[in-house]
Symmetry: C2
Subunit: 254 residues, 2 copies
DNA sequence: AATATAGAAAATATCGATAAAATCTTGACC
DNA sequence: GGTCAAGATTTTATCGATATTTTCTATATT
């Protein structure tokens, strides 16, 4: 998830950006929850400046929302938005992938081989539980980013990154059980093979399938989650009685 | 260009974000030039915090680049990137436009009528020169954003905004003479008509043409600009003599 | 002449303090 | 019982100062 520390002198702002981003993506901060500066200051042991800068970046990434004079909060999620996200992502990745396959050098091919190996060797979950999860997430992102890395367009790379992160947040939030995708290993292998063979049409077909298959599962999980939330909301409203102030929206759930 | 001040209590950070963004888009800061905090502090009469926050947001928008420990600079431009940008933008806008036309209410229609009127009545250039230009830019952005505003997807709206801004920077930098697009008024009218008539295919065709026509001109202007720059670079290198330190890349040109 | 280097100058990144807003609380009032 | 408002509290937004890091400059070295 976090772009591994290849460059040297990272600033606190960059570190904090990565950390908060991961916390949002992994669902440590629930959608809609408030991100108080003071709380984050304490959590990460920093001054306000790097935190505010990191949050500002995340705002433009679409993971955090800012309202002037009343701070930052984690962006909301919805099944509708997820569908949109998925469609856009397929589009953008197709472009990037085709370009990368046209332009990619041997170095690029080697980077893919390496990323594939790392992903294959990393267990999805540690024996104890979710400890290893972050590492797998890193490898997974590394693999997908490697595929398009040679597209040669900064703007495409930026979008791929942002869309991956946003999509990934949905996956984490939906708490999709890894067993729901048993062939995920093979899918990655096939994709890598097609890309390395520079079979553009096949590669695109496979990757779009890869995304939409996960997408369908995610969508289902999200919808049932939304229904549950709606029910809870309803019953909460009923309990509070009619005429109660309509502050039920945007509950805190930090 | 700046999102007109409808909401009340805007923070200095938001104002600064809009101002720097406009300065970058309008070409007041040349591509690649350094954005020194102290200089901006002076220019806008503010502390460092809001400026750094604004720059951080622009970073994620793709208008500014940050390198840890050595500050911010205006993103570079290239004709290749512009092509990519244009293609992506057509894609995204098509999605957004179709959705908006499916979902748009009467309010949305009225917003378009209003934006069209404002754009039509605003002169491209004041009699004195470029004074009015900013106002026209505002109206132009307002018009284009109004078309897709009803798409219902925050992520699409965010992308439309970002891509509009990036595209617009290219237009400003290329210093395209308005007379190069004599029918621009009619084009906007036709687009508005098609959208209001909810003729999706026509509207999409018109808007893509609108973008690509400008795009072709822009592209040509950019290429000749790049050639000129390459020539200058070359002669500069020759003048400095061989063996001179290769610091010729990234000239300051503030 | 090219390279290396120590020190000076400039710029960035960050902190702690504070002013300005928002939010919450409490009690008066209809 | 519900609304409203003054005051207390929390939170945000911003500034000014400072530690770190980079960049520049002049000098010494091969």
């Amino acid at each position: 998830m976090a772009t591994a520390g290849s460059g040297k002198a990272r600033s606190r702002t960059s570190d904090t950006y990565a950390r908060i981003r991961d916390d949002v993506i992994l669902g440590h901060f629930a959608p809609g929850s408030k991100l108080k500066i003071e709380a984050l200051r304490e959590r990460y042991g920093l001054g306000a400046t790097p935190i505010r800068e990191a949050l500002s970046m995340l705002t433009a990434d679409g993971l955090v929302e800012r309202v002037d004079q009343r701070g930052f909060r984690v962006a909301e999620v919805s099944s509708g938005e997820f569908e949109e996200l998925l469609a856009i992502r397929c589009n953008i990745e197709e472009r990037a992938l085709r370009l990368a396959m046209e332009r990619g050098s041997e170095e690029w091919e080697e980077a893919i081989v390496l990323a594939r190996y790392r992903l294959a060797r990393t267990p999805r979950l540690g024996p104890d539980g979710s400890t290893k999860d972050l590492e797998w997430e890193n490898c997974h992102k590394g693999f997908h980013m490697a595929l398009t890395s040679a597209c040669g367009s900064p703007i495409l790379l930026r979008l791929c990154n942002q869309l991956y992160d946003e999509n990934n947040r949905y996956r984490c939030i939906a708490r999709l059980n890894p067993s729901a995708r048993p062939n995920i290993y093979d899918e990655h292998e096939e994709i890598a093979e097609a890309v390395l063979a520079r079979d553009a049409d096949l590669a695109v077909r496979l990757i779009v399938e890869h995304y939409t298959t996960t997408g369908r599962l995610l969508h289902a999980a999200l919808c049932s989650r939304e229904e549950a939330a709606a029910l809870k909301d309803q019953s909460a409203a009923a309990k509070a009685g009619p005429g109660h102030r309509a502050a039920t929206r945007n509950p805190e759930r930090v």
